[in-house]
């Protein structure tokens, strides 16, 4: 299996810092890097810093694990709605499955997502946890 480091590196900083895209014409924000606005089709899309807090829009506890999460489960996956209305998919951490609720306020956390292999590169990225910080 060829290493995937270039593919991970292409999006690493966006995933660490929660950078998204914003259309300068219609204002639509998205999580991924876009060169065409998915709402209005404009090519005037720029990278922006997304808000680091939001609420849980929906959640599930995953018991049937994909191969990459071997030994890790069960874990909580959610769609999180950020303060500006954009939604993204992320794991909810530092929370017991019984305590997750729709509408629960959450904040950005920096966590291990996975690794290529024991000797391969490590992937980090965003997850969300119940709010702890002050600002």
């Amino acid at each position: 299996m060829m290493p995937k480091s270039p593919r991970i590196w292409q999006l690493a900083e966006r995933r660490y810092r929660l950078l998204g895209s914003k259309c300068t014409l219609c204002g639509k924000t998205s999580i991924g890097p876009r060169s065409v606005c998915p709402a209005c089709g404009s090519e005037k899309v720029e990278t922006i810093q997304l808000p680091s807090t939001g609420t849980v829009y929906s959640y599930t506890v995953v018991h049937s694990l994909p191969a990459e999460k071997d030994g890790y489960g069960p874990y909580i996956m959610a769609i999180v709605e950020l303060e500006d209305g954009i939604k993204l998919t992320a794991e909810i951490v530092d929370c017991d499955p019984e305590d997750v609720k729709i509408g629960m306020p959450v904040e950005l956390a920096f966590r291990l997502i996975g690794q290529e292999s024991e000797h391969g590169i490590i992937y980090y990225g965003y997850k969300f946890r119940p709010i702890m910080s002050r600002t």
Binding site: S58, T60, S64
Partner: protein
């Protein structure tokens, strides 16, 4: 655009087919379709194959010529179409267009998937490739987890209950018990569904379509030629195809599948019918919640009332609209690439009147609805016993 008819169908038994390889399954279904159409294989002018991920499951790409070769379709054009679980529904559409356009007179279309040569966790990872690899699967979302997110919102927004989801599984298992080619031929109860292990809360094992090997094939020809091959051609009256965002989180309301709404609108318009005119439908119950949402998005009932519709028994065989008489993806099985054409096989048999114990009485107009991923693709076809 001229009219197109289905003149032959064939399908393998769906299930864990340990002794058969991908190519064997397709050839088996194709040979049966040729026999059903009373047709020589050298009459086939082109081959369209739906397949999701032979590369991941069995290390094989370039599936089109592989199967043309194994079917001895010498030098015939062979296409592989991929749209996740809607692969062969989409392949069917391209095959239909090939004949409708007048480019070809006789075309074979099918789907095949061989999923059991890898472990269940690996299959879960492959399935997740139907979603956004960088912004959903990368973070740990699986396909059942995505539909679990949808189910939870449906509970909260409309008061749908886990028991209502389970009723979909109960119905489809009951239907599959009458289908000799179905993967599962045992009935279940609501209690048994809710007691089965959790896959992604609130979806249980018995809420989710299984891992399956299988193939299904149909032969299409122009309506003028149809009577040469069969006394009971089934005509394509209309279709609708739509795409939607790849990621679930990019939809404003995840309890509705915009691609289903749009595709069905196009299909009804082209066929000149309304939802209430559908007698029998093979819908995409990749998960029980998907069937309930499909009732709503196809216009069989109001938004949010899908749970009530299954609860009142309206979609049983012989009900207001008979849904998934074959057993659906849940109980007939879901070899990802084969499902779309498998749905066609069932509707054709229903409209011919040859569906045996599963027969929907007086079925005149049928629908197949095939969904890819979390609704990023939807392919709908409407069939009739009579020409348009």
């Amino acid at each position: 655009m001229r009219e197109v008819a289905v003149v032959g169908v064939g399908m393998t038994k769906f299930g864990e087919r340990w002794d058969k390889q991908l190519r064997d399954l397709f050839v088996e279904a194709a040979n049966e379709a040729l026999k059903d159409a009373n047709m020589e294989r050298n009459e086939i002018q082109a081959l369209y194959v739906g397949n999701f991920s032979a590369g991941s499951f069995v290390g094989q790409e370039h599936v089109g010529p592989l199967l043309a070769d194994y079917l001895s379709l010498k030098y015939k054009p062979a296409f592989r179409v991929e749209s996740a679980c809607a692969s062969s529904g989409m392949a069917f559409n391209l095959a239909y267009m090939a004949v409708a356009s007048g480019m070809y007179d006789i075309v074979m279309v099918g789907g095949v998937e061989k999923m059991t040569d890898i472990s269940a966790p690996e299959a879960t990872s492959v399935y997740a490739k139907a979603m956004d690899a960088e912004w959903e699967s990368f973070f740990g979302l699986t396909l059942p987890a995505a539909f679990a997110l949808i189910a939870r919102r449906h509970f909260v927004q409309y008061g749908t209950k886990p028991e209502q989801l389970a009723m979909v599984s109960v119905k489809n298992h009951r239907n599959a018990a009458k289908n000799p080619l179905a993967q599962f031929q045992f009935e279940v109860t609501v209690e048994r569904v809710l007691a089965s292990p959790i896959v992604a809360d609130p979806l249980h094992v018995l809420d989710c379509s299984p891992i399956t090997d299988g193939a299904a094939v149909a032969i299409l020809c122009s309506a003028e030629l149809a009577k040469k091959y069969t006394d009971t051609p089934v005509y394509v009256l209309g279709f609708g195809i739509a795409s939607d965002t790849i990621a679930l989180h990019d939809r404003s309301d995840i309890t509705t599948l915009g691609a289903v709404v749009e595709a069905s609108r196009q299909a009804y318009k082209m066929a000149g019918i309304e939802p209430k005119n559908i007698d029998v439908a093979e819908l995409h119950d990749s998960f029980t919640i998907t069937e309930i949402i499909s009732y709503e998005d196809l216009g069989f009932c109001e938004k949010g009332k899908g749970g009530l519709m299954i609860q009142e028994g309206e979609t049983e065989i012989g009900g207001r609209i008979s849904v998934n008489p074959s057993g659906g993806l849940k109980a007939r099985g879901n070899p990802i690439g084969a499902t779309g054409v498998a749905q066609v096989v069932e509707i054709v048999q229903q409209l011919r009147g040859t569906a045996g114990k599963r027969q929907v009485p007086g079925a005149e107009i049928g629908m197949t609805q095939n969904i890819g991923g979390t609704g990023s693709t939807c392919a709908i076809h409407i069939f009739g016993r009579q020409r348009r």
